[in-house]
Symmetry: C2
Subunit: 708 residues, 2 copies
């Protein structure tokens, strides 16, 4: 990575004298960007380009070549790659399009190139990309028509067009970048390599990305957790709906995983998700420029009542707080502001405020221990001094250590004031909503970082797993194929026993005599056909509850036997007989895998398993009141996620109900994780219902499916 982003020498294969060609544009960008190393144009048809000696092949260059930038048509890329291998080039940037993104044929070509690269230890950026710009050492190896300003943001994008739009937005606002990387088809170098690099690079303060798919979610999270400096990472993820996933697949062949898995994963790791381009941009500005925020008590200073009210609404909706202005501060303000001013919060310096009117409240609030950030609203009124006020606010932002965020409403009249803020790297806004939303994210991030445990994921796994191998590894491996298969209830029972998942008193058997024996002394009981017999029992009347005596049990057995016979033409089947439990609350725990079976070994990509839990029974689907954790999560993580569900209020004893044993629920979820870590072959798992009694949580029905 270091070699590619900081090359000492660059070959440009396809360099051209024709100014309309990409090969010419890139060469120009490299030269005009002020690149400090050697530049070698490669083009078989000419001797010099732009005064530089030009070579027929990369291998003809007598000196060392760190990076080759390839701008020739797709069909020629393979031979250029071979040539690069010959020259022992360590990195290539493939600008050329016509690979994975154009379908089967292109995909094959891409695989060929990857193959050459792997064999010869060459890293690839692209293909189908814009190139990259490293502003820390004046390397502009891209065909971008604009150059990003210098700054401390590292940005990467899976869409080249998104790069240019972002550049076009950033320049007028003076937002600067240390790196700007177009990752294209991600044939080799992807978000993780870049994240790792940026986390270590001291020129980077903020990492941001536009991504359509995550190549290896679990690795991303692991690496992020290693990130000791805790740099903020902000991701805009396209492909949040089924429809857009289709669009992604038809464009780049990427498979976008479940958005819930992605969200849970990044939330657990403390990565920030932007919901729109606008939000991504605002957050980049905020994290790059703002002072840190230590709490959520916001003060508002405004020259207009209405916008003050809108800001108040926004603060509350964003779960920040309206700072309580202490009585002495209020009195102090009262003495120093006109009688009509309001000195509560919002502090209204009223419409006839000139710049100087803002000074006193800003100073007082900046010095108050009761205020964590100040939002300053200016609307262009008759005597409003946009210039002077912006100067005064700018001074304050330089003097004080808490965020002081200007919001200048309007457009034409306030532009000059806003520009002063941008020029001086002060985050400033024209929309109240944007400002407050950015403050909230800054607060949440600072807060999360403070409370973040740096415990590494591998350690966590080991802690949760307790042992290296499941007792039933052989059985599960034998069962696992590419096609999804149901795990027999008998084996599920054993696995649950291994882990310590609570089951009711039960027997899994094919013999009605054994069933009757078990039932004796356990009435009332429930009788069910085993899950592996039929996936959806309720459709075939395969379940009977509250069976009171042997006669009834026998009767129910015969009914099921008849159904099974009709369906499967056999009289023998596995059944489960359980003690009948009466729940306080019905719960469920589900798990599903993103990626392949061996997901917990570093070679297999995917986020791993998402565990979901919530109220069971008829309300599950209609209220969708779920908690999520990505495996592995600590008991604390699980509890936190559970606490965010609404059903938690019932569990913890709302409305005078008796509180239930929440620790037992958390423990069962934790044990499901253990099960999954021992048996990553589990593709889906569904415990429904998990019956919550006053003292316990019991898994009454476990459906389990495995696949490679």
């Amino acid at each position: 990575m270091q070699k590619i982003l900081n090359p000492k020498s660059i070959a440009i294969v396809g360099a051209s004298t024709d100014p309309t060609k990409l090969g010419s544009l890139i060469l120009n960008n490299v030269i005009r960007g002020g690149f400090q190393g050697k530049i070698y144009p490669v083009n078989p048809n000419t001797k010099t380009i732009a005064g530089l000696t030009t070579y027929k092949n990369v291998s003809d260059i007598p000196q060392k070549v760190d990076v080759a930038c390839i701008v020739v048509p797709a069909k020629h890329v393979t031979s250029v790659m071979k040539d690069c291998a010959k020259k022992k080039v360590k990195g290539v940037v493939i600008i050329s399009a016509g690979f994975g993104e154009v379908g089967e044929e292109g995909k094959k070509l891409e695989d060929k190139i990857i193959n050459i690269a792997n064999k010869n230890n060459i890293r690839i950026l692209g293909p189908n990309c814009l190139g990259f710009i490293n502003n820390t050492n004046k390397t502009n190896l891209s065909f971008a028509s604009m150059k990003p300003l210098k700054g401390d943001i590292a940005f990467m994008s899976q869409s080249g067009a998104f790069c240019t739009a972002m550049l076009d937005m950033s320049i007028p606002k003076n937002l600067g970048f240390s790196y700007f990387v177009s990752i294209g088809n991600k044939a080799d170098i992807g978000e993780i390599d870049l994240f790792n690099h940026f986390m270590e690079d001291q020129n980077v303060k903020v990492i941001s990305a536009y991504l359509e798919d995550i190549t290896d979610g679990s690795l991303l999270i692991q690496n992020y957790e290693k990130n000791k400096r805790r740099k903020p990472v902000i991701i805009l993820k396209a492909g949040q709906t089924e429809e857009s996933k289709e669009a992604i697949e038809s464009h780049t062949g990427s498979i976008a995983g479940s958005i819930e898995t992605f969200r849970t994963a990044i939330k657990q790791a403390g990565i920030i998700e932007a919901q729109s381009t606008r939000e991504l941009f605002n957050l980049m500005m905020m994290f790059s420029w703002s002072k840190p925020i230590n709490g959520k008590r916001i003060a508002i200073v405004t020259n207009a009542g209405g916008p003050g009210i809108i800001a108040t609404d926004c603060i509350i909706k964003n779960k920040l707080e309206i700072a309580e202005i202490p009585k002495d501060v209020r009195q102090d303000l009262k003495r120093n502001l006109p009688a009509e001013s309001s000195v509560g919060n919002p502090i209204d310096v009223i419409g006839d405020a000139t710049a100087d009117r803002y000074r006193y409240p800003i100073d007082v609030l900046a010095n108050s221990d009761e205020v964590d950030a100040i939002v300053i609203i200016l609307t262009p009124q008759l005597v409003t001094q946009v210039e002077e006020t912006s100067k005064l606010i700018l001074n304050a932002t330089q003097l004080y250590k808490k965020p002081i965020i200007p919001i200048f409403l309007g457009k034409k009249y306030v532009t000059s004031g806003l520009q002063r803020f941008y020029d001086n790297h002060v985050p400033a806004f024209t929309e109240i909503e944007d400002a407050i939303n950015s403050l909230k994210t800054l607060y949440k991030y600072n807060h999360h970082t403070k409370n973040f445990s740096t415990q590494k994921i591998q350690k966590k796994w080991r802690k949760i797993k307790n042992k290296d191998k499941g007792d039933f590894e052989k059985e599960i491996k034998n069962l696992t194929t590419k096609k999804t298969k149901s795990v027999p209830d008998k084996l599920v029972e054993k696995m649950a026993g291994e882990i310590g998942i609570n089951l009711p008193k039960q027997i899994v058997t094919k013999q009605i005599s054994e069933a009757l024996n078990f039932a004796e002394g356990n009435y009332p009981v429930a009788l069910k056909v085993a899950n592996e017999v039929i996936a959806h029992k309720t459709d075939m009347k395969g379940i009977y509850l509250n069976i009171a005596d042997p006669n009834e049990l026998l009767e129910c057995y015969e009914k099921i036997q008849k159904e099974v016979y009709n369906l499967l033409n056999t009289k023998t089947f596995t059944m489960v007989v359980q003690e009948q439990l009466s729940p306080k609350v019905e719960f469920f725990i589900g798990a599903s895998r993103d990626g392949k079976a061996g997901v917990y070994s570093p070679e297999i990509p995917g986020f791993g398993h998402l565990v979901v839990f919530g109220q069971g029974g008829i309300y599950t689907e209609i209220y969708q009141d779920f908690g999520y954790v990505l495996v592995p999560a600590s008991k604390e993580d699980i509890k936190k996620s559970l606490e965010k569900t609404k059903i938690y209020q019932i569990l913890s004893g709302a409305r005078g109900k008796e509180p239930l044993n929440i620790d037992k629920i958390v423990e069962q979820i934790y044990k499901v994780q253990k099960l999954i870590l021992l048996y990553p072959e589990i593709e889906n798992l569904d415990i429904n219902p998990l019956i919550i009694t006053k003292r316990d949580a019991i898994a009454v029905d476990i459906k389990m499916f495995v696949s490679k």
Copy 2:
């Protein structure tokens, strides 16, 4: 109203020669605005201002005066008002501040002025306002430093500063207004007068407003429903949280009602709520400039895959649809676009598209019956032609009848293209999210308008009420005071009987002998202490369920008697004995009043009653899954609102459950409306539980409170 907004003659009281004074600014605005009528400066200290004869008093002006604009200090306004009355001026615009917004003293002064106005039949705009601009007849009676462009939007604002910010935003985007009105403290003229005026004025196509409180919600809705031309009304309402309501009260003394009541009301009427300044602005542009949209199938044309995916996500999240491109159209596109293009939807004309590449897909989609609107995304890439593409899109918007909405991503490079759209009144965006959100609102509005019944509210009331007077009017009037009071269960029972609200078999009595008599033949029964005895029965063990026989009933009675004696020192109390019902689902119906008791007479302001309903029992509060209607709502309205709740899925038979009798629930809600219309003294009403059995909906417990 007509006289004020279209004056033939204006007196400016406080007109001044000092250019820093408001009196001078306003006079200047009137003159430079090109006012066609007579202008009379009023100032006791000078003979002429700006070459115009100046008068000592309004009453000294020899000719007729339609409107007096008052710009003198608050303490002098009373005497100016008297002078205006003497001159028989029909309208005044009070610019002066220092009234209701500064506290008790100011409020008194404001009342005095209102008093003079009422006695002399004078209408007031303001006080504490910016004035107004009528662009249809060149009247600029304001001290705004900018002048709105001409157009067809009427805008009003309760915040003067919001006016100036909106002006500043509108001018660069070329967005034009027919009226621009600052309503200030709304001492007299408020949103309703203006809405009425604008609805009738053919120069107005779109009505928009920034409001902090609604003076008379029910009247607003009534008038809106009269609006036969169905002009879109867009409101940005500040004061959505408790905290911001406090801020409003401390600023203007207005009491902002419940945001749920406001939302339900305006939704029922088809008024559009903007959630932010930005959204308000975008919707004004969209409704003023866009072609109407007839369906929700959106096509996307883009020169970049990433933004196409983001747009797809947005369309789905906004509940619009990705248009299905017919096979023949796809094939046609395939033939006419480069091989790498994607011809599904989004249609990707790829990064090297010049302007001409956009032409074919736009024409084809504009002519397709399968597409209701086209969104065109441009990102500034290497060969992108911003100018040429914007010209081509502009032509298409002029040629075709469906909305064709350009989104140009970026900033600097795309500005000239965007400006071309604004200059030609084509709604255009720099943010995908804004464009799609605006399209959604346009679609929803067109759809709502199409399905809107113009039935008038008064008629609806009569229809629901059936009769003019409640049988128990006397009893309720006697009970009603300013202080909230509980209505005795016996009376509630009678009122329910009058309306036909379903009660269980029950008796309300003080005699245990009567209770025992009733219970005979009705066991199991429930015994409860009457609501008027204790508000929260469960706190005092005032309720016993599933009583099996007379002994148990007597036992329970004695327990309650003991509790009542301890609490109230009396042995007699009212109790309710009911048949014991077993519910399929527990439901509740609540109602609460916004405004005063006589809310359904036109003199009393307020939105009236909000009726809320949803799942009862322990889940009510945690899931907050409620339906709302504002009284009066038709059965159809009620059903629609019920259908939007999640519990509706259970009621209608989700997950294989038996469907319940939904019509019966709707009927009970409808009857609650009837009760409220007959007895507007009801401040709060709570039917909880409303027990839903397979065939019926029965109000097991009704709590009712009245107040003036």
